[in-house]
């Protein structure tokens, strides 16, 4: 297993030195108990459904990935070469553990795994995503989602 200090240069310096925005406060939403959670996964791997227009660099939109989509039709359009893709190529759950989440639902640990999960393009100025992120939050809340697992790559 590799930690950031093991990431080869020059990527390590680039990643560690990225200019991250800061926020004045840290908002905390109410969280229901585990067994009442309706959970969606939001990935920043630039995932798309096969045949959709790929997400491009600095694309601020997102893509929906319904649970009915076969694993073999989920593709990665992320712009960066800084991360390993071979894990994802061998096993989708490495970056998008929707199967593991469904198991938590089937064993009663959580109330529900969302019917649709989502993906943005990473390596994007976070503030540029705000409008679409807030829009997506409203959509998920309307569908009953109350918890989001955010998964980077």
């Amino acid at each position: 297993m590799v930690k950031l200090v093991d990431v080869p240069e020059p990527e390590r310096t680039v990643i560690a030195g990225l200019d991250c925005p800061t926020y004045g406060d840290t908002p905390f939403s109410n969280v229901p108990p585990m067994h009442e959670r309706h959970v969606a996964i939001v990935s920043t791997a630039g995932l798309i459904v096969r045949g959709d227009r790929p997400l491009l660099a600095r694309d601020v939109g997102y893509r929906a990935i319904p649970s009915t989509v076969d694993d073999g039709d989920i593709l990665c359009s992320h712009v960066s070469t800084n991360f390993d893709r071979s894990g994802f190529q061998q096993d989708l759950n490495v970056i998008f553990p929707r199967q593991r989440l469904a198991e938590l639902e089937s064993t009663g640990k959580i109330s529900k795994a969302a019917d649709t999960h989502y993906s943005f393009m990473g390596a994007t100025n976070p503030d540029a995503l705000e409008v679409k992120a807030r829009e997506l939050a409203g959509s998920m809340l309307a569908l009953g989602v109350n918890t989001v697992v955010l998964a980077p790559v």
Binding site: N30, M34, R37, V42, R50, R100, L150
Partner: protein, 230 residues
């Protein structure tokens, strides 16, 4: 990722980040993060290790039981790898070496074997077949470039054709054994004609007068592979 947490929470949606770069969440202070000590690109751990994926996922969801006022950042307990990686790994067969096309043709059966092993393939984002993707890049800077189907700019098509070629080769390389990502990258960039073709394309893109080609140059080859070639 931390920005998304802030925006979702402000709308009333609870979030937990599975974080790969600790420094970023320390700086951006999202409400809840579980830092995992895995390789970039593998937030839930190793391929094929369902137990590990579940532990990370459940660990993250359990962290939601905590509350503010300050950000919560917890480390996922490091654990021994469950997968035995293959020492002295080599690609399963000797590939044809006459041309990139002959190399591809000899690789395709191994790729199909890998596809059966993993139950899927991630090749296809360019909309081209593997043969077309190779042809597209091989002829890109020639006097007779391959035709670009409708629906994507020629530069975007080139970028995604290269993504497909890399995915095809790396998938094929996992048909047998459990190579590390480092072994896979060494093989692709140092031992294949396709890798050499992409490196050459990347150099031409980097020095091109076409601004769009320049922009994708950084998205084709890991930077350390460009440097190690110099």
């Amino acid at each position: 990722m931390s920005g998304l947490a802030h925006f979702f929470e402000k709308e009333g949606l609870a979030t937990i980040i599975v974080a790969l770069v600790r420094e970023h969440v320390e700086q951006m202070r999202p409400p809840r993060s579980l830092w995992v000590p895995f390789e970039l690109g593998r937030p839930f751990g190793e391929p094929g290790n369902a137990t590990q994926h579940s532990r990370v996922l459940l660990g993250a969801l359990t962290l939601l039981d905590g509350s503010g006022p300050g950000p919560i950042l917890k480390d996922f307990n490091d654990e021994k790898s469950m997968t035995d990686t293959t020492d002295n790994w080599q690609f399963p067969i000797t590939l044809e070496s006459d041309s990139v096309k002959s190399e591809l043709l000899s690789l395709i059966p191994v790729w199909k074997q890998a596809r059966r092993r993993h139950g899927r393939s991630t090749v296809g984002i360019s909309g081209l077949s593997p043969e077309q993707a190779i042809e597209f890049i091989d002829r890109y800077h020639s006097a007779k470039p391959a035709p670009n189907p409708k629906g994507m700019s020629v530069v975007a098509r080139a970028r995604f054709a290269i993504d497909d070629i890399k995915a095809l080769y790396l998938e094929a390389a996992t048909a047998v054994g459990n190579p590390t990502s480092h072994q896979l990258q060494n093989w692709l960039w140092q031992q294949t004609i396709a890798g050499a073709m992409i490196l050459k394309f990347q150099e031409k893109a980097r020095t091109s007068e076409n601004k769009n080609l320049q922009l994708i140059a950084g998205s084709l080859v890991p930077a350390e592979r460009v440097i190690s070639r110099c």
